[in-house]
């Protein structure tokens, strides 16, 4: 009884909160800073560097949106969120935008009343094993021990995969990535499974990285994307199109180096529309004409952000794969700016 009363009050309060702050853009402009929910520490995607500055692939989205909306990529207040607090923080209005490797699923989109505005990283679950094992496919791991973090979608995917292939395995539960790595090195588990991006980072820091391989199987789809609340579609549109501006910029060859002059020097009408030399794309969202120009100038286009944070030149060394432009055989496809 106490519990139902409690949740009833919670629901009523959240409904009120939902009504009260329907104009996120106005709130952000009044506040002068964007409240962006980020990871408390995930290599390459969102973390504080040695100087206390937030860095990473997901953090770049926060900066781009702040640049588009407020004109300054530094006007972001980062709110570190854990797996448990990320969605309640967004629902309660403590943050305007969540950019924290969150997988787009039906229940999160509908039941939790969020909008995943786009997919900024197509991830998948993979397995890492020792090369000397001679395994070339995850289906050869029948009966083996596998390190997995309990309570994640990873764990459920693993169970699904082995069940559907009629195989068995012994899970070795680990609390976090560092423990998984330790157990794996100690030989407590034959394979370690988590998101492929995380596996790549883990493998890169192993003492003998060359003796380990990531198996080619993709056993799940993990589309990560920035998330906003239901109830303010204008704000959702702004985040979505800021992201697509970064994607389109890569496709059209707008980079942080040429973003300031290409708008006037080019004849390509789409580039001119994106950069605000032509048309009034910004005004349709309640922004000024140069919103996308600032967003791109903040960290460069999608490809530059990828290369700087997680790309092949970084120690993490992720290949573009599914995250390449559609013209390169990937899934990054920005709708037309028209």
């Amino acid at each position: 009884m106490k519990k139902s009363l409690f949740f009833g009050t919670l629901a009523a309060a959240s409904a009120l909160a939902g009504f009260a702050s329907a104009d996120t853009l106005a709130d952000i402009k009044a506040r002068g800073e964007l409240l962006c929910g980020v990871h408390t520490g995930l290599t390459g995607f969102g973390f504080l560097d040695a100087n206390g500055e937030y860095q990473g692939f997901d953090v770049a989205i926060c900066k781009a949106v702040a640049a588009a909306v407020l004109g300054d990529a530094n006007k972001v207040r980062y709110v570190p969120t854990t797996t448990e607090t990320r969605f309640p923080s967004l629902a309660s209005g403590e943050i305007d935008l969540l950019s924290r490797t969150s997988t787009w699923t039906l229940s999160r989109d509908t039941d939790l009343k969020f909008d995943f505005v786009a997919v900024n990283y197509y991830d998948s679950q993979g397995f890492m094993v020792r090369k000397e094992l001679g395994v070339s496919s995850a289906k050869e791991l029948d009966g083996e021990t596998i390190c997995v973090q309990p309570g994640t979608t990873t764990e459920l995917n693993l169970a699904d995969f082995f069940k559907s292939n009629d195989l068995t395995y012994t899970p070795v539960n680990v609390a976090d990535d560092s423990e998984a790595q330790r157990q794996y090195i100690a030989g407590e588990c034959i394979a370690y499974t988590t998101d492929a991006s995380g596996l790549a980072a883990s493998r890169a820091t192993l003492p003998d990285a060359e003796n380990h391989i990531i198996l080619p199987e993709i056993i799940s789809k993990e589309p990560f994307g920035p998330v906003v609340r239901h109830g303010d579609n204008t704000w959702g549109d702004i985040v979505r199109w800021t992201f697509y501006a970064l994607v389109a910029a890569e496709e059209l060859g707008i980079t942080s180096a040429n973003v300031n002059e290409i708008g006037t020097s080019t004849v390509n009408p789409e580039i001119r529309r994106i950069l605000g030399t032509e048309g009034d794309m910004g005004a349709m969202m309640g922004l000024d004409a140069e919103w996308a120009k600032r967003a791109i100038a903040a960290n460069g286009n999608y490809g530059e952000i990828f290369a700087a944070n997680i790309g092949e030149s970084t120690p993490i060394g992720l290949a573009r794969g599914l995250n390449a432009q559609w013209t390169q055989g990937g899934l990054m496809y920005a709708p037309p700016f028209r």
Binding site: T40, V79, T85, D176, P207
Partner: protein, 482 residues
Amino acid sequence: MAESNQAFVRTAILPPQAPPLTEKGVIKWLRENLFSGWFNTILTLAALWAIYSLIAAALPWWLNGVWNAGSLGECRTIVAERAGPDVTGACWAMVRDRWHQFMFGFYPQDQYWRPTIAFGLLFAAITPVLFSGQKRLQTLMLTGVAAFLAATLWLATVPMLPVALTIILMLALLALAQVRPAALMWFTVIYPALAFFLLWGGSFWGPAVAMAGLLVLLLAYRLLLPLTGVGIAAGAGIGLALLWWAVLDAPIAAGLAWLAPIGLEPVASDRFGGFLLALTIGVTAISFSLPMGILLALGRQSDMVLIKTLSVGFIEFIRGVPLITLLFTASLLLQYFLPPNTNFDLILRVIILVTFFAAAYIAEVIRGGLAALPRGQYEAANALGLDYWSAQRLIIMPQALKIAIPGIVSTFIGLFKDTTLVAFVGLLDPLKGITQIVRADIAWKGIYWEPYIFVGAIFFVICFGMSRYSMYLEQKLKRDHR
């Protein structure tokens, strides 16, 4: 006498001989304590084997520790060069590289002197509480604080003015400890505002005017005390102080800030982390939960139904809920009940709920102390004609608190360690929060034991200190001859 001629009767006493080899020294001790029977012998051998294998496994790791490296990979290379392949070694270079984040979180680096001064003055502020009436110990402690501050401020780059002010303050406190030790308590009273000003910065007048509210309380109490009773005087004082905080505080602070803009660069709460965060939460919660716990314990024993019910309800509710739940309440639920766009600081929310949590436990510990007092003590207090508050202050509480010391200190130690749980609401506690951030850096990713050992060692020093102090206090307050 015939007997004296008998050859077998000894005429001289034998000189004492050394005990047999097995009955003296180390061998005796070993026989009695370690090998007194077949079962104990087996246990001893098993324990020795366990200790040996632990040391054999861990010792090379400790001995091969590396202090100078730029990343975990470099550490591994150095260990491999030094000791050969397949040898493990600790990578303390991580601590060397990131120790400041374990200490201060992401507090601006050029402002590190502020938490350092606040930390030093914390010990100056608790001196009169810890060693009341012990002039020698107080002087010793204050000298220690002065030495600590002198050393750290000399090492750090600090503007001249705060250094000068700190030196003057420490000299004044030392002088005061010689002349009027009781007056040191005033520094303890103003310390919270001073620490708040140092840590969060902003206008000097905010905390100063808020402290003036306490002055209003005291003044009203003093003026009304002869006219009315304790209850009404205290009530009116609290009422006036609340009025001061609610109505006058903000405009006066703003006015003063406009007239004399003194202040420090503001630092937002989300820059706090590491031990700075743990100590901020822990010290605040400890110092506020004790008085609150005493009041709750008294409330629970009260004859007044309303007060008793409220106290019991509060204690049982808070004790019935895990701390994690309260932390999630602080971080997630409270936001729903506040008007949109109010930004009620997360650290403040967490401090309030941690204080409540500790207060409920302290209340029950103190109730144990109260229950252990013989009924005669209460009756004696009544017979002396003391009113309720005087009886509590002079007779009941000193004895009850003395009995409750081990329990109270245990609660405080537990509370301080529990501050690491704030990691679950996204705050950067030293154990999990900062460690996770350090590991997210590709240079230190994969490091496992080192951050835990480093943080654990600091926690041990602090908790062991508290524990030793509690033993000292018990010894000092011992009045019986049990």
